[in-house]
């Protein structure tokens, strides 16, 4: 499988990255080198192997319990304020590059 300049442009678009001309050229080279190495995964037949997304669905659970009971410890009561109170408004806005007293401010969303 060969990554082309066109693929890089498409993926950069998905990832909300701009990338300069030079970055694109490097990216084509680097992705091909890395994916060339990754292609060795195809040497393995994994048709009958379950995918593993998480460690905690396999370990750290009480084996004597079944189904959702096993993960009961990870759930909690639905309560109005959750585990803690929400951040105060001003604290939540404190790190914003641009905000007024109520909202985050961003450039125009719709172009005319």
């Amino acid at each position: 499988m060969k990554v082309t300049e066109k693929d890089v442009t498409y993926v950069a678009d998905l990832a909300n990255l701009e990338l300069t001309e030079e970055e694109r050229t490097h990216m084509v080279r680097d992705l091909n080198s890395i994916l060339g190495y990754i292609d060795r995964l195809n040497q393995l037949n994994t048709d009958k192997v379950e995918p593993m997304a998480q460690v905690s669905d396999r370990y750290g659970v009480d084996e004597s319990k079944t189904g959702s009971e096993r993960f009961a410890y990870a759930s909690r009561e639905d309560v109005l304020f959750g585990l803690r109170k929400s951040l105060p408004h001003e604290e939540a806005l404190e790190n914003a590059p641009d905000a007024d007293e109520t909202f985050f401010k961003v450039p125009k969303v719709i172009e005319r």
Binding site: E18, L44, S56, Y59, A92, E94, V106, P107
Partner: protein, 474 residues
Amino acid sequence: MDLNHLTVDAARTAIQERSTSSVALVESFYTRIQKEDSQIGAYLTLCKERAVEQAEHIDRMAAEGKSLPPLGGIPVAIKDVMCTRGVRTTAGSKILETFIPPFTCTAVRRMEEAGAVILGKLNCDEFAMGSSNENSAYKPVHNPRDLERVPGGSSGGSAAAVAAGMAVATLGSDTGGSIRQPASFCGVVGLKPTYGRVSRYGLIAFASSLDHIGPLTRTVKDAALMLRTIAGRDPMDSTSADIPVPDYVAELQKDVRSLRIGVPKECFGEGLDSEVRASVEAAIQKLAGLGCEVIPVSLPHSPYAIPAYYIVATAEASANLARFDGVRYGFRSAESRTLSDMYRKTRDGGFGAEVKRRIMLGTYALSAGYYDAYYLKAQRVRTLLTRDYEEAFQKVDALVTPASPTAAFKLGEKSDDPLAMYLADIYTVTANLAGIPGISVPGAPTKSGLPIGVQILGKHFDEATILRLAQACE
């Protein structure tokens, strides 16, 4: 008394018995940082006022004759990927240059509640992505043992600070070896606990199913003390395990006699430096001499660890790093006219080359048409790699391997070749995929005096055994 090279226990005792004070200790560390760190580059932010206040509180307790908490008055430092309320947290990235978190990471909070004094925040590869600390947006870290060499990564600042006597102990994070590999390069102890053992709340996420927080220390006993402090269920992290925390320090008293240690043949093949091999084999001999049974084992899927890891890790990273868009915190590009233009320009200007490379790789692996071929395939191989360990642990109590194929390499040596850099993690990534605990403990150094790390891997939630074995190697 050499204040800068005390262990946690010795420092705490000295403060308790008032042969020194926490304030004196903190001052001596800041003096040393001032003197040494311009050459090393371990710290990104210092928080002296806050540290002195915390130290004074502990000194008052000691003066009143109160018994100090387990880390009472101990100067520590934190990798800059863990949020600290009121103290700038950058993740080594320009995109978070001005970020001041409104909350504190659970592991850090537990350290502070145990009396630790936080000196500052430590340099690292940007978003913990790297094996040499050359990917920091601020400055590279130099290895205190040889300033021309890298300290390893991504917790390079955490390892260098301990090695250079600029903190008694530090916290790092490990997504593919980022605690163990720098510990091995700098000649300190580095522990990656089991997935779920330590809460990840407040750790800036790189790859959520692979990220771990753990300690870097001068001794194994200090690592045990630190782990005992930070481990345990946290309702703020639903993947943190509801399993009791043993007294790891007390467990160290137990003998290692008749423990079965496995030596995976795949970890001693091509690409392993001969001096590293000799050092690890010497450690295995030492354990055998102490009555451990040495058993050859096989991890047959090892050659597939790096490719599976770099798909899973980058896929998760591409999702986690989507939040950095210039809206709620951090850097925003000034010259954008529309919202989508702002996202792009902000991310382009805010992220460094390696972070962009990983976001691109991860986005590619998750994109339509490639999801099954890459992401799902890697997850299936993750199962195979995990089964390798399960089978090995049927026969043995722990595995002994090198932490890294070589000792510390020179700055610039691998920075132009991402694949060569990724291969520096060849012995460490699988423990993250499987979630098992691992520790790097210094073995015999190279002829030229560079540190070498011996890695010991254990069963899930069996940190006690690998700590015991590591202590026996010390």
